[in-house]
């Protein structure tokens, strides 16, 4: 799985994150809550070549803790972007044909405006003064980025998990800007179980004494809490089978020094993942983004098929994974059902995989087949 920098010369090579800033006062971004946010910066990357009539652009959207760096290598990095196996020359999102944009989200901490950014009014990090944001707000911000690139219609918007929610929101907020949509391993609204897991993560962060009501910038971050949140997340991204295959009941060679130090491999793995995560992610961003995900409900209390009426010209490819218990296939089928009732062209595949929710990042070959052929069909029209 892990590639080294030697591969950098074969695929995309070195890439860089770019930044788009807009919505400076007095033209701030009006959020769904009615609050204003500005100026707003979005981190993004692009690959491939935009064609003359700007009709080959595909927008890739990332999951909860993802970022704009979806493919290629950053200078000095050992690992490529998070979906590098899907984006490149000859790959599912083929750079020989398409111009790829990957946008970060507002509320995040990886180059875009979020709670760790400087509040222009106080010259201090926002902390909890940052307004609550929604998936719709994220997509609104991205629409400014897309327009700034001179693109009026995206050939496709695609993404998994929270990225899939943004995809769905794009088709509803800006149907005239979207030709096709590929929501993967996602849901049109979060279920109580999904909200519950996120809430445990948030409680872990807020229970960390270092959190200090979000005003920890310049001091120790609530790393223990955030690490625990990440550990919970990782459990939900895997499956019973994938954990059994990866770790079994194997224990470490040496006896742990303390009674409850980790001895099973799975424990060590989760701790390692948790500890690594806190180096790159802000605890407040985790709170804001998980809240945005939990509040996501595309149905708005009405039938989803009514919501999709506006998207009737868009073609959908919906992908789910059989072992994904965090975003079970029935949620994807609800999207498919709504498409059908709204007379929207939809294809649906439920892929065999034992990787659980993580499958959308791992199952390259099957996804590539469906995505490649879908894009070929719709881009030939």
């Amino acid at each position: 799985m892990t590639k080294t920098i030697e591969n950098a010369t074969e695929g995309l090579g070195l890439v860089e994150t770019k930044y788009f800033t807009f919505a400076s006062a007095p033209d701030e971004l009006i959020l769904e809550s009615g609050e204003k946010l500005g100026p707003v910066t979005l981190a993004y990357e692009t690959y491939g070549t935009l064609n003359g009539d700007k009709s080959n652009a595909i927008l890739i959207l990332h999951a909860l803790t993802g970022n704009a760096h979806v493919a290629g290598f950053h200078q000095g990095d050992k690992d490529p972007g998070w979906w590098d196996n899907m984006i490149g020359y000859g790959k599912a999102f083929d750079l020989d044909k398409y111009f790829i944009i990957c946008s970060n989200v507002i509320g995040g901490c990886q180059g875009s405006t979020g709670p760790s950014s400087i509040n222009p009014k106080t010259k201090m990090p926002y902390g909890l003064d940052f307004p609550l944001i929604t998936i719709k707000d994220m997509v609104d911000a991205q629409s400014h980025l897309v327009r700034s690139l001179g693109i009026t219609k995206l050939l496709c918007v695609a993404g998994g998990s929270m990225g899939g929610m943004q995809v769905l929101q794009w088709t509803v907020s800006f149907p005239q800007m979207v030709q096709t949509a590929i929501p993967i391993a996602t849901s049109a609204r979060h279920s109580p179980q999904q909200i519950a897991f996120n809430e445990v993560g948030r409680q872990a962060i807020m229970a960390d004494p270092a959190w200090k009501d979000g005003q920890y910038y310049g001091h120790d971050a609530p790393s223990r809490g955030l690490a625990v949140a990440r550990m919970i997340g990782h459990i939900t991204y895997m499956s019973d089978i994938s954990m059994a295959e990866k770790f079994g009941r194997r224990v470490k060679e040496e006896r742990p020094e303390k009674k409850f130090s980790p001895d099973f491999e799975v424990e060590g793995y989760l701790q390692y993942r948790g500890d690594n995560f806190v180096k790159r992610f802000d605890a407040n961003s985790y709170l804001y983004i998980t809240k945005a995900i939990d509040r996501f409900d595309l149905t708005n209390g009405a039938g989803l098929e009514k919501v999709f009426k506006a998207a009737s010209g868009i073609k959908f490819l919906v992908i789910a994974f059989k072992s994904d218990w965090l975003y079970p296939a029935y949620q994807s089928k609800e999207i498919v059902r709504a498409c059908k009732q709204a007379q929207v062209d939809v294809s649906y595949c439920e892929l065999n995989s034992t990787y659980g929710h993580d499958a959308f990042l791992i199952e390259v070959e099957e996804q590539e087949h469906f995505i490649k052929n879908f894009l070929r069909r719709v881009s030939d029209e």
Binding site: V336, K340, D345, V346, S347, Y348, H369, N373
Partner: protein, 206 residues
């Protein structure tokens, strides 16, 4: 709707598919239930410009549908039909799949709700060679249209052309057309005896 494969040569298409193609006017909307690898739907899209989509449960078959560039949902027929509103399609096709569904009657009623007209194709269980195998061989028949042994057949229902005609009569379904085949020949004489396959175009009269 464009497509990923070249336009098929209609003369090389098997008779069963040509018969179905002839039943569907150009530009119709079509749902193919149990569309398999998408060959028939692809023909309809490519030669008749239909607005076509399919439902198929088998992952390999769905993969091939994607390759051909047709819209397909990977679902079972029995669960997938409720997604559609009344009369969403001009035609619903149940070709060689009806005999494999568990709740046949429920599926058929749903099909008639979703489609204005329904095309049903099935193997005739009382084809004369089957009768011979049963009567003289004492064995469960194995024929080109019913090729599986008793222990590995996907078929759950075994019906004859006469059975289906009688069914339509009791359920008040109008048979608008019926075509009977023995391989690549059309059978007009004693179809319940000489035909391996029956293809019916029906609609509900209520």
């Amino acid at each position: 709707m464009s497509n990923n494969s070249p336009v098929p040569d209609i003369n090389k298409v098997k008779l069963e598919y040509r018969v179905i193609l002839d039943l569907i006017p150009a530009g119709s909307s079509v749902l193919d239930l149990g569309c398999g690898d998408g060959e028939l739907l692809n023909l309809l899209v490519r030669t008749k410009n239909v607005r076509g989509s399919g439902i198929e449960i088998d992952e390999k078959a769905v993969r091939n549908c994607a390759l051909l560039g047709i819209s397909v949902s990977q679902q079972d027929i029995e669960g997938g039909l409720s997604d559609y509103g009344d009369k969403s399609f001009d035609f619903v096709i149940l070709n060689q799949s009806l005999q494999q569904v568990v709740k046949l009657e429920a599926v058929l009623q749903e099909t008639l709700r979703v489609g204005d007209k329904v095309i049903i194709g099935f193997p005739n269980f009382v084809y004369y060679k089957s009768r011979l195998q049963m009567v003289f061989g004492g064995r469960t028949p194995v024929t080109p249209s019913l090729p599986n042994m008793w222990y590995d057949t996907p078929n759950l229902h075994f019906l004859s052309i006469s059975d289906f005609q009688a069914y339509c009569h009791t359920r008040n379904l109008k048979i608008e057309k019926a075509i009977y085949l023995d391989g690549n020949r059309i059978i007009k004489f004693l179809p319940n005896f000489f035909a391996q396959t029956g293809i019916f175009l029906v609609r509900s009269q209520t």
